[in-house]
């Protein structure tokens, strides 16, 4: 997998991943799957009482989408670090586009060390997350990884 998608190994390359619109069902299921049961994401009565107009997505659901982008680029074992700042609330109906831009890429001894700048915006161009990741990709075929 890592070698097969190594076409992004150049500073300035951009890889994007479009994400389906966020649904209320998805928020309910994510609460169960993630263990984050904060009612502000799944109970509109609770959200309104807390001063919010509606439920909104778990930040970590958004980060999971950026994680999908990373693992579409390289195997999960290649990820050295992954960080995100949640810039604004991700709402029901938002269609995110996740994006990774190569800011550093060093090749040595068949290993690529890649630094990525990450972001995600919705269909209106509203910035939702910014972040960074570091990948170490072994470009040679390996018997075990």
């Amino acid at each position: 997998m890592p070698g097969a998608t190594a076409d992004f190994l150049e500073v300035g390359k951009v890889v994007t991943l479009p994400i389906d619109a966020i649904t209320r069902t998805q928020l309910a299921l994510y609460a169960g799957a993630s263990g984050d049961h904060n009612p502000i994401h799944i109970d509109i009565d609770f959200a309104r009482a807390a001063g919010m107009p509606d439920v909104f997505a778990h930040g970590m659901l958004g980060m999971a989408f950026l994680g999908r982008l990373l693992t579409s680029m390289a195997g999960p074992e290649c990820i050295r670090s992954f960080s995100v700042r949640f810039v604004s609330i991700i709402n029901v109906g938002d269609r995110l586009t996740c994006s990774a831009t190569v800011t550093q890429c060093e090749l040595a001894g068949g290993v690529a060390s890649v630094t990525l700048e990450l972001s995600a915006s919705n269909q209106a161009g509203g910035l939702k997350m910014v972040g960074a990741a570091e990948l170490t990709i072994t470009l040679l075929e390996r018997e075990h990884r």
Binding site: D20, Q26, D36, A64, R68, G75, S81, F82
Partner: protein
């Protein structure tokens, strides 16, 4: 204002098994289609010893501790006032379905911005596996709205 004397406070370590059914549920919800995250045969065919844990799922396992609100309870924070501000992971070794992971967490920092309107609580967590091999380090920043 939150009591800064809790900076450094450690939580009781806990251990949790990585269950294949939950990994499949998680992959389905986030729209992950790469079978190495939910199908053992596919994971083995890709060279992995078992189904792989996706990058953010280590945080989800931490939410499955006995009291996931322990930080909030300790500091007296209302869950309705919080937002997730930042999250970071450093990965040392892969985690797989079937692993037994041990989490050790502490409060790394508490600070405020905008004259106390926003307070920030930083929790740091070290994760090791059943062989005491380091798996990852998590840093979770929660924002408390005091406005």
């Amino acid at each position: 204002m939150l009591d800064r004397s809790f900076i450094g406070r450690a939580f009781e370590p806990f251990s949790i098994a990585v269950e294949p059914g939950r990994l499949k549920f998680f992959a389905n919800v986030i729209g992950e289609t790469d079978p190495v995250f939910f199908d053992r045969t596919a994971a083995e065919a890709a060279g992995y010893k078992d189904v792989m844990v996706p990058p953010t799922f280590l945080w989800c396992l931490e939410m499955t501790r006995e009291n996931p609100l322990d930080t909030l309870d300790l500091l007296g924070i209302d869950i309705a006032r919080i937002l997730h501000g930042e999250q970071s992971f450093r990965y040392f070794n892969s985690a797989y379905s079937g692993d037994l992971l041990t989490y050790k967490a502490h409060i790394a920092d508490i600070y405020d911005k905008k004259k106390g309107q926003l307070e920030f609580v930083v929790r740091e967590t070290q994760i090791i596996n059943q062989d005491e091999v380091p798996v990852a380090e998590l840093r979770t920043t929660v924002i408390v709205r005091n406005d």
